[in-house]
């Protein structure tokens, strides 16, 4: 029994680790592909060199990010079967089909046009190339839609029946399965999270270059200015919208998964006029949140939008159905704090823009630099909150996590866990190192295309002109 419990724990930790690494790259791809489509569209429309420069700068980042997303995603498509075979067997008729639709409608579209997008500028002409960029961008959005439909179905299952003989989930109504109650909220919230994460990476990169140029007494280049301005518009507009979307998602969760809300709020008793616990340490054993600092009425106000609204407590639910409050209480608060700071950055940039100091304010640039990873951190914290908050279930209220795991021996699970950690540290550590070095190089005026540069030029040095000239006629 000890070994089975350890195997379950390892399986859970392995899934959390591999998907936690993976989730960053698709989110990066979603935001960056859309940004690239906008840049190329602006270039085609205005014919301004600066948009092409930025396109060529960010597409190099995109090629690395996308590759890491593909390989870390491949792991996921087999991990359900290797580690969660009982879940796969029972829920596969629904979640497996949704995943297949994701592969067919999104992965192929992205991969099929990625080659043209990365290397085809000189081969297919501007219009077709723009179409390829748009296909890749649309592909990332379609991909997000399917995987969130599947994820949301696990949170708020609908449109199914359960086969009494085998315990399998049988699809009855595919529209109800896809458009399950939490899906629209999750889709909007995750989509905006991806866009914000990338906007803050772009804004932070630009801020770093502006701070460095200012220290060296150099003028700030046009591409850096344009990308900073675009990123800050995104922060100004989307960060407040994201707070509204998060609020709506929270209300939806309160309706469908009240114990998750109780756990992430650290509330034990059901109360009207509930306070909001700003800080505390929830204790699952004593059923109490220690050292709580409370803000009167705020809990009811936030969760029900009225001062005397009823807010659930964990004691209303059996102990074996409560998610681990000490984890999600904190991840939820970190996410909220980062969200507020992102909105604050947006407002600060708006003020500086109005005062004409968008490209000169050291305060704004320092803030934008510090906030560069905030989008991804918030995204990860939000993901932990919703997924750990789903515990102890894989399919909410219907299939327990403990009953979902494969009959895998502890040694196999331990070997694979070790292997994943070692490989991921090497591979994704190197990848992030490469990305940081690429970002530390400024976008140049007259930036080179991926298809026309020599091998070393990605990191700075220019290629030889003959390489540039020899490529366009190839294969025509």
């Amino acid at each position: 029994m000890v070994s089975a419990a350890s195997a379950l724990l390892l399986a859970r930790f392995q899934f959390a680790f591999t998907v936690g690494v993976h989730i960053v790259f698709p989110a990066f791809s979603i935001g960056l592909a859309a940004y690239l489509a906008v840049l190329e569209g602006l270039w085609l429309r205005t014919d301004k060199q600066v948009y092409l420069d930025l396109y060529r700068y960010w597409i190099k980042i995109f090629s690395v990010v996308f590759g890491m997303g593909v390989v870390s995603g491949l792991v996921m498509s087999y991990e359900f079967g290797t580690n969660w075979s009982v879940f796969s067997q029972k829920a596969g008729p629904i979640t497996g089909v949704l995943l297949s639709y994701e592969v067919m409608t999104a992965f192929f579209l992205e991969a099929g046009f990625l080659g043209v997008m990365l290397f085809g500028m000189n081969k297919v002409g501007r219009g077709l190339h723009f179409a390829a960029t748009c296909c890749v961008s649309v592909g990332t959005l379609i991909s997000m839609t399917w995987i969130l439909a599947s994820n949301s179905w696990m949170q708020t299952p609908a449109g199914y029946s359960i086969d009494p003989a085998t315990g399998r989930f049988m699809p009855e109504d595919w529209l109800a399965i896809i458009f399950n109650p939490s899906f629209p909220y999750r889709l909007v919230h995750m989509g905006m999270a991806a866009f914000l994460s990338v906007a803050f990476i772009i804004g932070g990169t630009a801020a770093w270059h502006m701070m460095r140029d200012r220290r060296k007494g150099l003028p700030i280049s046009q591409p850096v200015k344009v990308m900073f301005s675009m990123a800050m518009w995104m922060a100004t507009i989307v960060a407040p919208l994201q707070i509204l979307a998060g609020d709506a998602h929270g209300l939806n969760t309160l309706k469908h998964q009240p114990v998750k809300i109780a756990a992430l709020e650290g509330d034990w008793e059901t109360e009207s006029r509930a306070p909001e616990i700003l800080f505390g340490i929830p204790n699952m054993k004593t059923e109490h949140t220690d050292y709580a600092i409370k803000l009167p009425f705020a809990g009811s106000l936030i969760l029900t939008h009225s001062l005397d609204g009823k807010v659930p407590g964990m004691k209303d639910f059996p102990a074996d159905q409560r998610p681990p409050s000490p984890i999600i209480f904190f991840t939820f608060r970190i996410m909220i704090a980062l969200g507020m700071l992102m909105a604050a950055t947006g407002f600060l940039s708006l003020y500086m823009r109005w005062r004409g100091r968008l490209f000169t304010s050291p305060l704004l640039h320092r803030m934008a630099l510090v906030m560069a990873p905030s989008g991804f951190l918030a995204l990860l914290c939000g993901w932990v909150t919703t997924e750990v908050g789903r515990q102890p279930w894989t399919v909410y209220g219907l299939l327990r996590t403990a009953d979902s795991v494969s009959p895998i021996m502890l040694p196999s699970m331990a070997i694979s866990m070790t292997a994943f950690v070692v490989v991921y540290v090497i591979v994704f550590g190197t990848g992030i190192g490469i990305l940081l070095r690429m970002l530390s190089r400024q976008p140049e005026e007259g930036e080179h295309d991926l298809s026309e540069q020599g091998t070393a030029s990605v990191l700075g040095t220019r290629s030889h002109p003959e390489t540039v000239l020899s490529s366009p006629d190839h294969g025509a």
Partner: protein, 339 residues
């Protein structure tokens, strides 16, 4: 068994087999190119080898994800028994594919830090390991998996047998052959000539592998033997070995006359025939020797819904895959640096 419950799994078996075959062929030459790094040390020529597939490898690997997802959605019973049974080779394969996949970018981008040689090794080692594991997985499926009440109940090393190792080595040899033939078609000069040389040797290796696996497979389980030797079955299955030998003649002639694509097409033909042969052996089992394709199927409501999408989407996918290959057609030389 009623109509839909009988036919849907059969249709899906054909689609799944097609998806796996497309994967094997497309990523086969990618992985083969990785393994051929072992016999090509020149950095410029290695770059050319990688550049012949750099624009398309993502798409090629997507077929493997489709295979996994299809198994998951359409044959969850097989997904939930084969994957735990083949846990270690699958783990090793995905880790190898991670190294292989990121090495496309990393081997170029670490060049100024002096560590790019390590990523060349990762590209080569990842390709070789992934190829071996895919063969071993295939062998593990054919030789059968121990199942009780629809769940795997064997040990973590059940898959590791002389037969699965033979399959692993044969697939390595076959992929390297595909890679060599692909490079004969897509490159010029020294590289083209050296690949022609290696293609001949690898073909001999693959041929030996095919003969050994073909003779061994029927000995594994009684039904396999019956399938290949009983009258009138033999009438339907006899063309498979005959065509293998016919292709061998065409292959040798293609190499001798320095035909650009004939060797590649013959190598593809071999893969198609071997795959068909293995399919003939194990049909109708999806998890030999106990679970048939009907035993492991998801309900008709799942299979039908997915079939509608597949019928519409698969032709579209194939169309733009062909388009993207056409954009990058023609010989690749050291002058075109995609990276």
């Amino acid at each position: 068994m009623s109509g839909a419950a009988y036919w849907l799994p059969v249709i899906w078996t054909v689609i799944l087999a097609a998806a796996i075959l497309i994967y094997v062929i497309l990523d086969g030459f990618d992985l083969g190119i990785g393994m051929l790094f072992a016999v090509e040390r020149d950095q410029g020529r290695r770059d050319v080898m990688v550049n012949t597939v750099a624009p398309v490898w993502d798409g090629n690997e997507t077929w493997m994800i489709l295979g996994g997802a299809t198994l998951y959605g359409v044959f969850p019973g097989a997904y939930a028994t084969l994957l735990p049974a083949l846990y270690l080779p699958i783990l090793l394969m995905v880790l190898a594919l991670i190294f292989r996949g990121v090495a496309f970018e990393f081997r170029i981008m670490t060049r100024d830090s002096g560590r790019s040689g390590l990523w060349d090794i990762a590209f080569m080692g990842g390709s070789a390991t992934a190829a071996f594991c895919q063969g071993a997985i295939l062998g593990g499926v054919i030789q059968g998996v121990s199942v009780t009440k629809g769940a795997f109940n064997g040990g973590p090393l059940d898959w590791l047998t002389p037969f699965s190792i033979l399959c692993g080595l044969s697939v390595m040899c076959g992929y390297a052959l595909l890679g060599a033939c692909w490079l004969v078609w897509r490159t010029t000069g020294v590289l083209e000539a050296s690949c022609r040389h290696w293609a001949r040797r690898l073909a001999i290796g693959l041929f030996v592998g095919i003969v050994a696996v073909s003779l061994w497979t029927p000995m594994l389980h009684e039904p396999y033997l019956v399938r290949w030797t009983d009258w009138p079955n033999i009438l339907f299955v006899a063309p498979v070995p005959v065509l293998v030998i016919l292709l061998a003649f065409l292959f040798v002639r293609g190499l001798q006359r320095e035909h650009p694509v004939a060797p590649f097409l013959c190598a593809l033909g071999w893969f198609f025939l071997c795959f068909t042969g293995l399919g003939i052996s194990i049909f109708p089992y999806m998890v030999p020797p106990s679970l048939t394709l009907w035993d492991v199927s998801s309900p008709p409501s799942s299979q039908a819904f997915q079939l509608v999408g597949t019928a519409i989407l698969l032709p579209i996918i194939l169309t733009y895959t062909v388009y993207s290959y056409r954009v990058f057609r023609g010989k690749v030389t050291e002058a075109d640096a995609y990276h």
